[in-house]
Amino acid sequence: MNDIVLDVRNLRVEFPTRRGVLTAVDDISLQIRRGEILGVVGESGAGKSMTGMSILGLLEPPGRIAAGSIHLSGDRIDNLDDRAMQSVRGRRIGAIFQDPLTSLNPLFRIGDQLTETILLHTRLTKAQARERAMDLMREVGIPAVEERIDNYPHQFSGGMRQRIVIALALCAEPELIVADEPTTALDVSIQAQITALLKRLCRERGTAVMLVTHDMGVIAETADRVAVMYAGRLAEVGRVDDVVRRPQHPYTAGLMGSIPSLRKDVAELRMIPGSMPRLDAIPAGCAFNPRCTHSGPRCHQEIPRIGVEQSGAACWLQTQGDVA
């Protein structure tokens, strides 16, 4: 039994610009199984959204997939034409973005938007679809559904809108959900409601989820495995507990140390000196080498990669045990 829903191999995303070709995503390989939540974490500009957009087939030109492949339950989807991809997006992949208003039409009632989407992807009658829309609204935790179904998006709070977007993403019972910073714009108490909802629904339905966020806390609470990105590349992939407690990559370790604790007093937070390089100035070898206290000669020449087993750290200290 092969239960791999998403299989991304050696993905590379490029942006041709006047000053040369920028590589926003460089040799990323990821797999997500049925019912699994993979967190993708990294600082802004690390390439998280570009990875997500490639999977959704929503890269804005001139951005393009320059190498690699994306398979959904065995079907290759990165080379489909726009029409075919649009259908895959509605039926087989659901999308949730940071701003729920990008997914909702302000001019249409919530209920009509849900019903439309359900009619598009199922063989239900209009009345059945409306029933199903109400069920979905209840399932994502909208109170007083009968009263709210004919509201417009602006009549909902940010948290309720995001619940509706989740309902929309679930309409066609997709195999995969790509959620890009789904809770970043929300308050902490609402954030917890939304992640709990996502987790429950995916567990119950066996949906695979790619959860993109810059927030390590959200990942620790929600994801099964995590992929840490840095400067367009994978720095580390592993089970969440392992990566949070025993980070292998010097960047991940620095990242974890820089987060203030809710329990421990520290006089000074750990700092990673400098900042992530811009796409036009990525250093040779390991992209982290100018900021790394362990770097050796090899780090300046060869790009470290994560092994074939697709977990561990892309670091010469780990893979070959030597930076020299």
Partner: protein, 319 residues
């Protein structure tokens, strides 16, 4: 009162209302009454010289409004603010390091601006020496002064904002979400810098954030806000070891904890109600697991007897 003896800022029964009525004509046609939003609704706290008091709470609870009242950008609608310091030495750092720097000015000019307005007769060579020094203090280099803001990253821009705030030789800084727009590794750089500056220069901070772990790291005293009010205020260690208000407790149970991730949380239900029509009595009662009849009718009163150690809740030992 002894606790007030070293106070630099005293805020008493502070209120700020905003008129959020529909335009006059609409009100006439639709027969709608005037509507008032109580953004800050009876807030008291005291900040001791050299300390950090943090305001923490969810979006819209009134944190930025307090910052604007303290810095004088808004006049209060009630209550008072007593600042026992030099008004010229009160500066502010904003959340958005992109919007708060003039994009057409070179960084050197941006940093020198408070100096020029406060002490216009400072000789040019002294101004530029001071700018160089400030750049160095915040971890940049003198040549950065001739660059424009867009040439810097978010964290570097926030350092520039800090350098600008320091130019006026401040004693009191109001920092409204100074690191919320930054990545965590950059946030660590800025927070460490702010702590170091506080120690070196004896600065006092009013520090605003929605992030409890950041606030825990930075503050001596924490005030938790909900719908325009302080529901609980305690010294930092006490707030975390013994949170008293049901809202604080729920917040602490809700926020992700990297050290002890909890996969099966029971998140706090409901949402923050509209501040235009807040619930009666204790405004937290619709979401409160401990609410009882009295909470619906009566508002837990502020008690002004013990400063910076208070909880506004009938069930938490206050009458």
């Amino acid at each position: 009162m002894s606790i007030r003896s070293n106070a630099i800022l005293e805020v008493d029964a502070l209120e700020r209302r905003f008129d959020v009525s529909a335009p006059w004509l609409n009100r006439m046609i639709e027969r709608k009454p005037r509507r008032t939003l109580r953004a800050v609704d009876g807030v008291d706290f005291v900040i001791q010289r050299g300390q950090t008091l943090a305001l923490v709470g969810e979006s819209g609870c009134g944190k930025s409004t307090i910052a604007k009242l303290v810095t004088g950008l808004h006049p209060p609608s009630g209550g008072n603010i007593r600042f026992h310091g030099d008004r010229d030495r009160l500066q502010m750092i904003f959340q958005d390091p992109f919007a708060s720097l003039n994009p057409r000015w070179r960084v050197g000019r941006i940093i020198a601006e408070p100096l020029r307005t406060l002490r216009p007769d400072t000789p040019m060579d002294q101004v530029s020496a001071r700018v160089d020094e400030l750049l160095r203090i915040v971890g940049l280099v003198a040549t950065d002064g001739s660059k424009f803001p867009h040439e810097f990253s978010g964290g570097q821009r926030q350092r520039i904002s800090i350098a600008r705030a320091l130019a006026g030789d401040p004693e009191f800084l109001v920092c409204d979400e100074p690191t919320s727009a930054l990545d965590v590794s950059v946030q660590a750089q800025v927070l460490n810098l702010m702590k170091k500056l506080q120690k070196d220069m004896g600065l006092t901070y009013l520090f605003i954030s929605h992030d409890l772990s950041v606030v825990r790291h930075m503050a001596d005293v924490i005030a938790v806000m909900y719908l325009g009010r302080i529901v609980e205020i305690q010294p930092t260690a006490d707030l975390f070891s013994n949170p008293l208000h049901p809202y604080t407790r729920l917040l602490l149970e809700t926020i992700p904890d990297l050290e002890v991730p909890n996969r099966d949380r029971n998140p706090m239900g409901g949402e923050v109600p509209s501040p235009v029509s807040p619930p009666s009595g204790c405004s937290f009662h619709p979401r409160c697991p401990l609410a009882f009849e009295r909470c619906k009718h009566e508002r837990p009163q502020r008690r002004a007897d013990v400063h910076n150690r208070r909880v506004a809740c009938f069930a938490a030992g206050q009458s």
